[in-house]
Symmetry: C2
Subunit: 351 residues, 2 copies
DNA sequence: CTGTTAGCGCATTCAT
DNA sequence: ATGAATGCGCTAACAG
């Protein structure tokens, strides 16, 4: 089998120059080189210059594993997301990465595909690979998982949920309150007949919280959400479209449909167009998360903007702070914002 | 300052049981325990059972750094993407992660924000943290970056581009040919007046390739793409919308607009609706990448489906194979597929 | 401020 | 098939 020589890689790590080589080259002790790397302030500039020159000359790169072993810190932060291929968590990851990069930390990431089993496996892997801290999404998981984390004494933080009871450090927002805010917006405009398109609530406390928030807000006004008016589907545009058809097929039609995620709402909006339903005159539609199309898709989607980048940033900052040994409290639940656009309005008289 | 005792983490790694502890507990030598972990086949079942029991009892987790140091492999694979908050690269990352997970590898990821400087920094970091292999997007970067990688002898693979000249191992598709295919589709329907909305081509060989492909396909038929009909913008829906307005403001209007990325096309489609332009009768529009809304947004976006998940899977497989010491050739350029939907049709007679 | 001394926890020779 | 010995490259006391 011919193989392009350009591709002739080694297998396994290459030696390269070691810290000791640098020390020899610079005529100092290994410890001094180490100091130049980790605590440059305390070394005489003159020496430091020589060391820097040697590092440059030998093209020295510290050996991460050796460093971790000796220092007992890997400079790796784990992050497990339910999914990576929607734009939803990408922003959080990007913000997290960007926040911790300057401190020399790198995220190691995995996607659980919304599957607790996969999450657990990735967690084991990460724990074994020696992550210094861990970011997860949501709080709903078996107690044994938390035991695993705590036993390793790895600082962790839960995102996309608000710490309800102080059991876990959380950096997120109150999904329930957010969904209630959306619902009240519709109630205040006079809507009384509601339906909801929700994500699956099993193992997903964000989806469950949103559903509960809708129900709670309705009950405040003496209304209830008929269970047959709740359609649960995996997140997706086509799913939203199909759900809307179902919901509008039965009399009396709802005047407002609350979607647990923007993609549902995109689908619902598009299907209205298809069915010749006027939004918001015939039907009001709301989304959740204010994703990138919400402002653009006519008539503009009323939705709830969640602080998805901010969660990544603050989660990163929180973990760094804990790792630095500072006493750190996670911040209060983050703010969300109701973004009112064209897809909601008062119900028509006829309806 | 009060601090919830639940949050009282340590700083730095915890000891936990070591391989030696396990050996003592099981009454065997450390070497045997190591074998049970890394090469279970060669150890007597009876002993292995005792070791497994000890591992279970002590809740032993191998220490990644020590393992890396001794074995000279970190089991970490680096992946640097231009961006993580679009859904574009998320699928590739997810597929990569999923492909390598079973082999005990974990991706460490970073986003360069389309900035070569940031990419270089992340690369340095990753090299220092001892990644065993590396995945990058695109081929356009300074030679010094490749030197850095090669000097460390880290196997790498470039994605989202096809290896044109065999300089680098690539797992991707031919952006130029793909864009040409889109263009020919329009030419074949009779279009003669074209415009393009393109991503920035600096440091982005995917965008550059797509632009070149359009130009080449036009020149095959004796046409040229007027430079003033090329609008270059950062990727985004609103950017596409604005670009469409610009392009349609000047006579003679184009009958077909080729977008270098789907978000542009979404914006263009929406703006047509806004301006009262009929698609495809007044104007044909094409996208690129077949992202999640392309099938749903009326009238359905004709676009080019890129193998974004496949690239992640194959890149992962390729790197694993190289790491396993197998002679490995990257596959030929991957296939793309023209997806014809409602947004393209013959130009109207009037136009 | 700098050099010396010891490991960190494991994989891997080499013996047996 | 198993055990004993060695060192991966670095940081962290400690001593000077």
């Amino acid at each position: 089998m011919m193989i392009n020589p350009e591709y002739a890689f080694r297998t396994g790590m290459e030696s390269g120059a070691t810290l000791e080589d640098v020390a020899r080259e610079a005529g100092v002790s290994p410890a001094t080189v180490s100091r130049c790397l980790n605590n440059p302030g305390i070394v005489r500039p003159q020496l430091k210059a020589k060391v820097d020159a040697a590092i440059e000359k030998l093209d020295y790169v510290p050996h991460g594993a050796a460093r971790s072993l000796a220092s007992r810190r890997s400079r790796l932060i784990g992050a497990i997301f339910p999914s990576l291929d929607s734009a939803l968590f990408g922003g959080t990851l990007e913000a997290l990465q960007s926040e911790i990069a300057d401190s020399g930390y790198t995220p190691v990431v995995a996607s659980s595909n919304y599957d607790p089993e996969q999450e657990r496996n990735h967690l084991r892997n990460m724990l074994a690979s020696g992550i210094d801290a861990l970011m997860l999404v949501g709080a709903a998981r078996e107690a044994s998982v938390y035991r695993l984390i705590r036993r390793r004494k790895v600082p962790y933080v839960l995102t996309w949920v608000a710490g309800t009871d102080g059991t876990h450090p959380c950096i997120g927002f109150d999904n329930r309150a957010a969904a209630a805010a959306v619902t009240r917006h519709l109630l205040d405009m006079g809507h009384r007949r509601f339906a909801m398109i929700s994500g699956a609530t099993a193992n997903n406390d964000r989806a469950a919280g949103r559903l509960a928030g809708v129900q709670a807000a309705l009950e405040e006004r003496g209304l209830t959400l008929d269970p047959t008016r709740i359609i649960t589907r995996p997140f997706g545009v086509e799913e939203g479209r199909a759900a809307l058809r179902l919901l509008m097929a039965r009399e009396p039609r709802p005047t407002a449909i609350i979607c647990g995620a923007d993609p549902f709402a995109y689908g619902a909006l598009l299907e209205c167009q298809n069915l010749g339903l006027a939004v918001p005159d015939d039907l009001s539609i709301t989304g959740f998360d204010d994703m990138w199309l919400s402002a653009s898709l006519p008539p503009g989607l009323t939705t709830l903007r969640t602080p998805r980048n901010e969660m990544g940033t603050l989660a990163g900052r929180y973990m760094l702070s804990v790792l630095a040994g500072e006493e750190t409290l996670p911040p209060r639940p983050l703010d969300f914002e109701l973004i009112v656009r064209g897809s909601t309005g008062p119900p028509s008289q006829a309806a």
